[in-house]
Symmetry: none
Subunit: 439 residues, 2 copies
Amino acid sequence: MIQEAQYHARDPEFRGQRSGGPMIPTCDLINTGSELVLGRTLNRHGQWLGSLLFSQGAQVRRQLTLPDGAIIAEEIERSLNEADIVLVTGGLGPTSDDLTRDYAAQILGCELVEDEGAFSALAARFAARGREMSAMQRRQALLPQGARALPNPRGTAPGIWCGPEMLGGFRARALCLLPGPPSELHPMTSESLLPLLQAEFGLSAPVSDLKAFHFSGIGEGDLAAKVEEGLPGDTGVELGYCAHSNGCMELRLTGEQASCERAAAWVRKNLSGDCFGEDDGCLEAHLLRDLAARGETVATAESCTGGLLASRITDVPGASSVFGHGFVTYANEAKQKWLGVPGATLEAHGAVSEQTALAMADGARAASGATHAVALTGIAGPDGGTAEKPVGTLWVAVSSSGHPTVARRHLFTTDRATFKQLAATNALDLLRRRLAGQL
Amino acid sequence: MIQEAQYHARDPEFRGQRSGGPMIPTCDLINTGSELVLGRTLNRHGQWLGSLLFSQGAQVRRQLTLPDGAIIAEEIERSLNEADIVLVTGGLGPTSDDLTRDYAAQILGCELVEDEGAFSALAARFAARGREMSAMQRRQALLPQGARALPNPRGTAPGIWCGPEMLGGFRARALCLLPGPPSELHPMTSESLLPLLQAEFGLSAPVSDLKAFHFSGIGEGDLAAKVEEGLPGDTGVELGYCAHSNGCMELRLTGEQASCERAAAWVRKNLSGDCFGEDDGCLEAHLLRDLAARGETVATAESCTGGLLASRITDVPGASSVFGHGFVTYANEAKQKWLGVPGATLEAHGAVSEQTALAMADGARAASGATHAVALTGIAGPDGGTAEKPVGTLWVAVSSSGHPTVARRHLFTTDRATFKQLAATNALDLLRRRLAGQL
């Protein structure tokens, strides 16, 4: 979800080593798949793994993106001769262009043999779906002899770990083949790969401390201005800002532990109104915990976001304890029928108006019986704007038992998908400020 | 060990060449900058240049992302020995870690000399801003002797083109150093680089063709089995599969135009039931066009997807012409109140059941007055599963005027976010099959 990171000038350049510290293992990342070099899919693995490995005390020496084909074998062999750790993603599936395991066996000079555990896991997966496993599918249980299968509960092909005992004659002490889909790669990395790397290379947490604060309802420029005008200059921490694509902001403090603590204390004291949490950057999860603790519930009424707000709320496991009803009232008729927005309001002020937003929020709360309701109406674009209500106009409202209903206007001139994300975040932010007693 | 021949037979890329046809120049892309391997900045150059080069008739052999340091020189030299075209981005600026031009001169065994034109352009740029040019800034006018400066009107450092006359002894016939910032790289590529490549390599229209087909409601393994068992072996096309994170599948055919046409004809004839489109891979957009053409509408009733289906439908501009009402009925009470699901059905069969899915779809259609309604109910996890209804269980149903209401069961054992995406895609797929007369 990280759209773009802009870093402060104080962010030091990476020098490739730490002075006086322990040996830092080097890692080559090889991402395979013709769709990546053809430009049809954006390769995000390099960024994700690069940042993760750095945080674990390893260092990426080179990252390669390769089309399916023999060059994968050539580059794996080179990397085994030049790096300490070689990670390969992709090419473990059942199709004819999935040859990574074959290349690995070739390079290591061993046979591919069926792994019993991997076969059972595959068989169980197919049985659970009531489907037969084809010979092609069964190939996924093949491992270079002596390798270890890494469980893949979220997909079919297991990962493959080849340790130092298999890598005699090479510089590398670990070769690990990982699945390409992020939904399989990410959990396998944290559940299986990192513990193995930690055991093999004695990786430890980096020397410096890192504190992360998460903000909503404030832009990058305003946040940076508050921090850089207010934070005492001698804290000795590095500042990092990151604007997430949903509009939430992250502020990172890096440095010696004591310096980080001092700067964090300043942030906690001075930016608490905009800050919704530390470490956990999920605004939805934060709100759901808050609501659950108060024994309260929320309903949603969405026009321009078309269900995205409800979907983001229900991305959080256990959402059902605080969320039961969501209305996607894209048509005016739906706003009237399900939320009781008066036809006269729609006629006099239009669907995108303060009055309609207020009526939607009140109507959703009444219809659902929830403690709170948030409502959104706006113009996502690219068409439908007018001089008075341009594309990007948003009205967001919150209705709560025992409080006046409040609406806010925003203008987000961006693409349709980003508009929807920013709008949903601002609805969540409005509810957050209500729960915090700011409204 | 698997018989490799079987898997390579239709994969000409594996052999590193195509039989017959004109020579396709290979290109290595090297993107430099420590911020890229640290994961602080997402490298989009590979995708952008890869897709552009392919459209121009060149083929990316490998793409590398490298930290600042000597490995840049090593990899440039390797690439010069192995590829026809070597493109390097980044490291042309004025600071001490900008060493790409020095590495290039070293490898080519020539001096860096100041280019008159580049110096004048730099001087004019600084003069226009009323600023003095420092010695460090002036370094940017240095070029390996014999190289050609590529104008950079949007930045300071010019690009550097080294043609075949400078590359004696190497395989490559072009080495081009380009600026890192996209705002400088993109215009320089189209204004200077592509014309030079076209002149040197006679690139014009793409030599090879690319056809992309998009599928829903079929997994990667099943699709591959259908293609590889059915597609005649002598079509001479390369097959590429890509499983998108929403569960849609992409099949790519690459090769000579006539071969691609033949294979595409086979796909159109034999896989039309699963295929929803060519080139445009957006299932939602495809459905919305179909509905609009028929003058029909759709409503949604979601439990486990919590609004994601409605949100994906409304991601498409103009969705309001076919979508007006969406119900997020996360609580049983909401299923009864808004969709009229009988309490007895919920009690007898549970919320995740064929009967509830059918009642939700019928209820949503009746409440909204839409031509079609799709409904989803399932267990997204990670908790809430039972032996009989494990986490990942999904019931999806479609109700349409003049047709029997149909429900289908699926099991997606994956993480919560992926489950929601796969479920929404399968609901769209069910509607697609209804519109196509398959149900």
